[in-house]
């Protein structure tokens, strides 16, 4: 079938037929200028050009449409007697048929070519998708072999020490070892959580459930989660007193803050300070996490929110390259924004902006 209904409607929607009509009008005007100098049959070439152009740009339907109105326009405007639909010479019937058939053939061929191109690019997208999937799998495997193993080393070591050498350890030492094992299992859980969240984001099943939350609570829970890492760190907390309750998903925003504070700890020297603040800015809430760490190079800065991206020189530090992309997805699911300012050697400031809802 030459015309497909859905294709026709689709093309109609995109006004492609009007464009084809415009092209034929243009060719006719051009013909009007030059028809005195050339044979009328040669004017057919102008219309064939219109068919080719419309077939290659707009596709099958508009091309067929172009060839039909080209025949009509040619007959009316140029085939003698001009400005009538009748013809003197029977050979013009041949010219019309020629124009029409060539038009149809060109349309068909071009349409096939277009389909093939579309198919090829679809395949390419599919390959890209597979590559991304493979990259996710590799990242998960890398995390398992490195990131997941590191906490396990401490857990295995601490527990084996208690099991085998109990008699050497006093109560305080035992408690310290158990605490190490516990802290590290919490860390393991966090890494698993991040991987799970990423797969949820990837599959579009991340569901945000809103409820009014007190910022003091959200920040408090995040800091508590990171307590073992923050024990010897100088953390300054500044939460504005007049902050209203903010409607958000408590669990997810806590995850964002944990990821951001964890980054601040990881990428700054132990003696430097970390600042966490929550302030109102017009109709939104700004949560700012600032460190005095190594900062991010100009080259890396635009890519930090890309999945799996690890900054130069951070490959040996623990991390999956998933933290910031997860934060971004969560914040955007809240209709908020997240951005990052950094000066190499001076430190990094991350701001999370969440809308203050009036409900």
């Amino acid at each position: 079938m030459i015309f497909r209904k859905s294709e026709f409607l689709n093309d109609l929607m995109k006004k492609l037929y009007f464009k084809s009509l415009g092209l034929v009008v243009f060719m006719s005007l051009l013909g009007e200028f030059i028809h005195r100098h050339i044979e009328p049959t040669n004017l057919v070439m102008l219309y064939l050009l219109a068919v080719v152009v419309s077939a290659s740009i707009w596709g099958r339907g508009p091309a067929i449409f172009t060839s039909i109105i080209s025949v009509i326009a040619f007959d009316f405007l140029f085939a003698p007697p001009r400005f009538t639909m009748s013809v003197y010479d029977a050979q013009y019937i041949l010219t019309f048929s020629g124009l029409f058939i060539v038009g149809i053939v060109i349309s068909e061929l071009t349409a096939k070519m277009r389909e093939r191109t579309i198919e090829a690019s679809r395949r390419e997208t599919q390959i890209e998708l597979l590559k991304t999937k493979e990259k996710l799998q590799t990242a998960i495997l890398n995390s398992i072999s490195h990131d997941l193993r590191t906490p396990l080393v401490s857990i295995t070591g601490a527990l084996s020490s208690i099991l085998n050498n109990g008699k050497h350890l006093d109560k305080e030492m035992q408690t310290e070892l158990i605490k190490t094992a516990y802290d590290e299992s919490t860390r393991l859980n966090r890494i698993f959580g991040n991987l799970l969240d990423m797969t949820r984001i990837e599959s579009g099943t991340l569901k945000v459930s809103y409820r009014p939350c007190e910022m003091r609570d959200v920040i408090g829970v995040s800091l508590e989660e990171l307590k073992p890492d923050l024990e010897e760190r100088n953390v300054h907390i500044d939460i504005a007193r007049d902050l209203p309750d903010v409607t958000m998903d408590f669990v997810f925003i806590t995850k964002v803050l944990i990821n951001l504070i964890d980054n601040a700890v990881k990428y700054s020297p132990p003696e430097s300070s970390i600042y966490v603040s929550a302030q109102r800015a017009d109709n939104s809430l700004h949560i700012v996490i600032k460190d005095e760490g190594f900062g991010i190079s100009r080259k890396d800065l635009p890519k930090v929110f890309d999945k799996f991206y690890r900054g130069e020189g951070t490959e040996k530090m623990h991390g999956t390259g998933l933290g910031l992309p997860i934060c971004k997805s969560i914040v955007e699911a809240h209709k908020g924004r997240i951005w990052l300012e950094s000066v190499e050697g001076r430190g990094t400031t991350v701001t999370v902006e969440l809308p203050l809802r009036q409900d």
Binding site: T150, V153, S154
Partner: protein, 236 residues
Amino acid sequence: MKEEPTEGLRVLVVDDEKSIRKFLRVSLSAHGYHVSEARTAQESFEVYASSHPDIILLDLGLPDMDGVVVAGELRKRVKIPIIVLTVREDEKSKISALDNGADDYLTKPFGMGELLARMRAVMRRMVPVEEGAVYKCDNFSVDFTKRIVQIEGKRVHLTPTEYDILRILILSGGKILTHRQILQEVWNKSDDSEEIDHLLRVTMSNLRNKIEPNPDRPAYILTEPGVGYRFRTPSD
């Protein structure tokens, strides 16, 4: 297992992971070790200079320098045992750490019992087996001056190459020797082409057939898969 006194021995733990340093500090202190810590390669050189450790536990995945290079650098400065700790599964880094002077390696995660045993073993090896003496263990004896190997009082005839391999394994006192180290010592070859590697395996198999009571389950010459061989010391 017989516990040897470790009271007062100083150990330097080099690892960028706080939790790993912490459990090692607590567990090793409980066994009488004095523990000093370093987070980076740079720090390890500084702490080494100030704490004069008797043994070093070195993580290969340090943030500021390749652990293999650190092992080499430390080996240049000190003669004390270095045990490499690694999460890396790949044999290459272990082998190059051993080639660069590490005395032993332990793949993370590991139990404290295993670590303590390895530490005692490398410390013991610091007292070298002297060439010229007669080495004896169980029913096994090697007279280094006369180049005579005896098992249960019966002489075993070894080819010169077989004897050389046995000698360097015994003299290294239970330390792992990598394929490369054995090839270098015995054949004076530094490249480990497939051909020469095959030669080593065949010679090793012949040697085991002659000295092992059950060559399929070696009791004296143990294989460290993908890395090399070590001679089993009586207390292992």
